[in-house]
């Protein structure tokens, strides 16, 4: 199975606070089949997300799939509460970059035709 960066399949990859203790990552897919395929695989496991951020699995609080927006939401425990001394991103708006390069399986080709 060929792997491609998540940024090739997603139309939105973003991060933001959900309250001062939680950072929430949203990935919205451009095409429904890509979303459904990765949802079916439960691709966004806490282990995979933790590995992308170099954090422990228990810091990944929740992974939620949201069909109406072809989206997956991932909640991480912030290392520091928003605005505490030492925090470097008060709004949590620039913590999403590791997801761009997360390698995801491309749709498999059947009879030479790529299914998307």
């Amino acid at each position: 199975m060929r792997l491609i960066p998540l940024s090739e399949l997603a139309s939105v990859i973003r991060s933001k606070n959900a309250g001062p203790h939680v950072l929430t990552l949203d990935v919205l897919f451009s095409r429904q089949p890509d979303y459904l395929r990765l949802k079916q695989m439960r691709f966004f496991s806490p282990d995979r997300v933790a590995a992308a951020y170099g954090i422990s699995t228990d810091q990944v609080l929740k992974v939620v799939y949201f069909d109406p927006a072809w989206a997956v939401k991932i909640n991480l425990m912030r290392p520091l509460t928003s605005g505490d001394v030492g925090d470097s991103d008060v709004y949590g708006a620039q913590q999403h970059a590791p997801l761009f390069t997360l390698m995801v399986p491309e749709a498999q080709a059947i009879n030479g035709i790529r299914i998307r």
């Binding site: 309250g19 001062p20 203790h21 929430t24 951020y53 109406p68 989206a71 928003s82 913590q95």
Partner: protein, 451 residues
């Protein structure tokens, strides 16, 4: 229901972010039943609740309010402001009502105004804590009794009930302290008998104005039309549209779970919500339900003061210093904090190397040819923080390090003066749920005649 639709004009995502007057006029032309605006958030961090200051500027808030007040009074419809002044404590609410009175005087406006405060007395929090009525939230820290004493001030997001009560008395302008964001948009419709689930979900989207449209904007007006079984969203400039996707995607924004959005006294259940496109500009939403939960809980927000801050901003371009940066900064920090107590802290933020993501940065060894350095000093008072910052800055500017060739100075200081006193530093120390018996108890309504 006496009318077949309830129209809400949302001028801007945050009071003071601004909006085009053309969009506002277009909205007024559609005969709205209400103008509502959200003024607050905890997103800008703990400083604003602690310091009592607004995170939007006074002239910007005055400009927005002048247009909204005149629009609402001319049309004979209510204007409701949520989380006034940003953090929504009494000091912020009073700051807002003072601006409103100034506008009224300058424009000869007369109206009745309700002011609803949202400050929570410490004695009530203590009582709830002893009764086991305080709970952690979102994997946040456990509640500590000491936090109550340490807090500078504590507010809670009011639910629908205080605003419904004020509406009964027929006020033309309602200024709320800290408030659940959708409430100002939803309460008048709920009073008229519309479904609370749909009204609150529409409020959730409208409180961000055009952020849920595409292309999104925090400073453009939108219109929500609530009906018996659904609501519709419409942009008020030709540059944007609401699509099925842009509307659905907003359910995720700043939320920890898009299927279940909790608020005071209950949660919005989106498991049967349907998002549709009406045409190429408007979207329709249906199926959202409001589910009451008991005990009724309020979300408390409190901050404590941790000290004062002073910073200095500089750049480093010397390749040898960049290669030795960690050891150099460590030794400067050690030297500065030696002999000072633990209330003094020195931090270096290195932009170009882990400055944004810190411990989460996966690319730890990327080469860089220049570094941005923010020197941060925290101390128990401003003078102490200033002193520490100046000492660190001058030490780092002139210190030797192994292999040094550039012996005249280590920093490209950005400004003169090089150091900036930032004032007080706060930290969220209360962000917990509190059980209450009466949703009205902590939100007194004060009537004021403005003329």
């Amino acid at each position: 229901m006496g009318i077949d639709a309830f129209r809400v004009l949302s001028p801007t995502a945050i009071l003071g972010y601004g909006f085009p007057e053309s969009s506002f006029a277009r909205g007024m032309g559609k005969k709205p039943d209400l103008i509502a605006v959200d003024a607050g958030s905890t997103d800008p961090g703990p400083y604003y609740l602690g310091s009592g200051k607004s995170f939007t500027s006074r002239p910007a808030v005055k400009r927005d309010l002048r247009i909204m007040l005149k629009g609402a009074l001319n049309a004979g419809i209510p204007l409701i402001i949520g989380s006034a002044g940003g953090a929504g404590a009494k000091v912020h609410v009073d700051w807002t009502t003072e601006i409103i009175r100034e506008i009224a005087a300058e424009n000869s406006l007369r109206f009745s105004m309700a002011v609803i405060y949202a400050d929570i007395p410490k004695s009530s929090i203590l009582k709830a804590a002893f009764e086991g009525g305080i709970h952690s939230l979102d994997s946040g820290p456990e509640f500590r009794i000491n936090s109550i004493d340490e807090a500078v001030r504590v507010v809670a997001q009011m639910g629908l009930e205080p605003v419904l009560k004020a509406l009964k008395s027929g006020f033309q302008v309602i200024v709320c302290g800290r408030c659940y964001d959708p409430v100002p948009f939803a309460a008048p419709a709920i009073q008229k008998g519309y479904d609370p689930g749909l009204a609150l979900h529409m409020g959730k989207i409208l409180e961000c104005a055009a952020i849920a449209a595409t292309p999104g904007s925090g400073r453009d007006c939108v219109m929500g039309t609530l009906r018996a079984e659904s609501f519709e969203l419409e942009p008020l400039s030709d540059a944007r549209r609401f699509t099925r996707m842009s509307t659905a995607a907003h359910s995720l924004y700043e939320k920890s779970d898009p299927w279940m959005l909790p608020g005071p006294g209950g949660f919005l259940d989106l498991s049967n919500t349907v998002f549709e496109e009406i045409d190429d500009r408007r979207a329709r939403v249906s199926g959202t339900r409001f589910v009451e939960t008991r005990p009724y809980t309020l979300k408390l927000e409190g901050v404590r003061r941790v000290g004062f801050r002073s910073i200095s901003i500089a750049g480093i371009r010397d390749p040898i210093l960049i290669s030795r940066i960690d050891a150099t900064l460590d030794s400067v920090r050690q030297e500065a904090v030696a002999g000072r107590d633990e209330r003094f802290q020195v931090l270096f933020h290195l932009y170009g190397r882990n400055g944004v993501m810190g411990p989460w940065e996966p690319e730890r060894e990327s080469p860089c040819h220049e570094l941005g350095v923010v020197i941060e000093a925290v101390g128990p008072d401003q003078q102490g923080a200033d002193w520490l910052c100046a000492e660190v800055r001058s030490t780092l500017l002139h210190c030797g390090y192994s292999g040094r060739k550039s012996t005249a100075g280590n920093l490209a200081l950005l400004y003169s003066p090089s150091d900036i006193a930032c004032g007080e530093v706060f930290s969220f120390n209360i962000y917990h749920l509190m059980n209450v018996e009466d949703p009205l108890a902590f939100f007194p309504i004060h009537a004021q005649e403005v003329s």
